[in-house]
Symmetry: C2
Subunit: 333 residues, 2 copies
């Protein structure tokens, strides 16, 4: 179908080796020959076949990105940051989503095998064992937001704990004693860490640790709404609510509004993630900011580093700092 190096070689009356040398500037070639080859290639509209090349050189200049799914701001920002950094370093991105069960991970991994020089895996759902036994040892891997004790991989995590801790401490410092939390999915690593931060801040800040103020949630807007509805039907009412992500905070805001409760006057509210919408809400939402695209970029950076150094590269864990962004919803703007 499309032109091969052989056809170019024939037309230029040289060997394929010479054509390759001309096109890659590898090895010496006579100026006349060079011109001849260039012309032949142009005339035939020759474009080297990346696959043939890959097979031969055993590298692909591509990086695989395995994500749990592609919903929402978070993932698009990861992709953007990753792609930007990758592109600067002449790498391309092979994106694969929704590997939430064992089979799909294996599928995705199989598809990647040979096609990429390294892998970035994001898998916040706790399934460390499966992950560990499926990940290829033959190529560099960087783990993002994964819960894995194993020290045999590079890993990159958001500092969820400290973000949540600081946020809740901020509320405590402004006099809140009864601070509710709307938690994320139980088996989600990020969610757990945020919960841990909340707990420690409550204790260390000498606020009240009231179990009935810890609501279940699943990161969805609806679950935030429901949590607040339940919360308001209880005897012990909070003076502040900390949602484990912004989507749930948005749901919470709707529920509070529907119940005629003023935010922040009657109940203060804070979220996590600082998605763009946070800024546009009324009241604007206090949240924990994460530089998500940076997360993606750093993952690529680490991976490329590890690809280049291959063996003598030391695995490490990195925590990406978070920062509290104070807006109207917490009452201390």
């Amino acid at each position: 179908m499309s032109t091969t190096i052989k056809e170019v070689a024939n037309r230029a009356r040289v060997s394929t080796a010479t054509v390759s040398r001309v096109l890659n500037n590898s090895g010496p070639v006579d100026d006349d020959t060079r011109r001849l080859v260039r012309e032949a290639a142009r005339e035939l509209r020759y474009v080297p076949n990346a696959i043939g090349r890959s097979l031969s050189t055993r590298k692909s200049d591509a990086i695989g990105l395995l994500l749990p799914d592609l919903y929402g701001e978070f993932f698009s920002e990861v992709i953007r940051g990753a792609d930007q950094y990758a592109q600067q370093n002449k790498y391309h991105l092979l994106v694969s989503s929704s590997h939430n069960n064992r089979n799909e991970i294996e599928d995705a991994l199989q598809m990647m095998r040979g096609r990429v020089d390294g892998l970035i895996v994001m898998s916040p759902h706790i399934e460390a064992d499966t992950l560990d036994e499926n990940l290829p040892r033959s190529m560099p891997v960087v783990l993002m937001n994964c819960f894995i004790e194993n020290d045999s991989f590079d890993s990159l995590n958001i500092d969820n704990y400290s973000g949540a801790y600081q946020m809740v401490m901020h509320l405590v410092e402004h006099g809140h004693k009864r601070i509710a939390m709307i938690k994320g999915p139980e088996r989600n690593y990020d969610a757990r860490e945020r919960w841990r931060g909340y707990n420690d801040a409550i204790r260390e800040g000498h606020a009240l640790a009231i179990p009935s103020l810890e609501m279940k949630g699943n990161f969805s807007e609806a679950s935030g709404y429901d949590a607040v509805r339940t919360l308001l039907n209880q005897n012990t009412k909070p003076t502040a609510i900390f949602a484990a992500n912004d989507s749930m905070a948005i749901g919470a805001l709707s529920a509070l509004r529907d119940s005629g409760i003023r935010v922040p006057e009657e109940i203060a509210l804070a979220g996590f993630d600082d998605i763009p919408i946070a800024h546009y809400l009324t009241p604007s939402l206090t949240s924990v900011h994460i530089d998500i695209s940076k997360l993606g970029g750093m993952a690529i950076e680490k991976l490329i580093h590890s690809i280049r150094l291959k063996n003598e590269h030391k695995k490490e864990r990195v925590l990406l700092p978070t920062s509290v962004v104070i807006r109207e919803s917490c009452g201390n703007h």
Copy 2:
């Protein structure tokens, strides 16, 4: 580094052909041999190399997605829709962004050559000629939001014209005579179409066509802000503003607020795209809705169709319908 089919063959004491047959269920194999091979593969943790396979079968089960950049809601939704449909059909996605100039397009195309069975190209910036001469004829291509007269490609466009037309007509029908428009980038195809819809609606609805109410913009929030600031300094003030996208509408809303103008009471406002934020603004933003993920999905659908039928596939152009979503900002909620 990683196990090859040959090593599996050796261990199972059969030929590579047999291993291949077992693993792909192609051709007859004795049950005992089959078991032997399976076991050897498992023990060696063998995973077929996708590249070797591709080279041999001349297909990759991958689709290339060329995007102008990866900013904002729009692209992430396209990717999501595309990935979802692709995954259902056992295809994977190779994403490449920011090919805004000729060289980058060529680069991206070169990277894709051989790696993908088909290509989806999105390039709203008007550069039809470059595109046309760089696109490979050897594989199926679907164009998204591209301005190209050429009938030799499948193409998929948002019905920008009709969306804008209906939106503006809605405003006209509710009594607005002086309707301003904040336009998008001049050389952007989508932006042009939206402008065309605005114009026709103004004329056919017998509203006033006032050149000074047509403001320049570049799809950014800041440009929306600036446009309104300029608009308010003019003699002829509009009773309604139609922004060519939601980002500019958001900027416009800020500017109106900063100028102490109530929306929609004094000036009505409408946007285009219906990004998620639109719903959360105060007042919530009337906008033209596009099912972006569907756009991505449909592109993949068309492409896969065209890959399967290859030659006897008839090229066609499809327009994705848009719909007006009435919210508070236009005053007719």
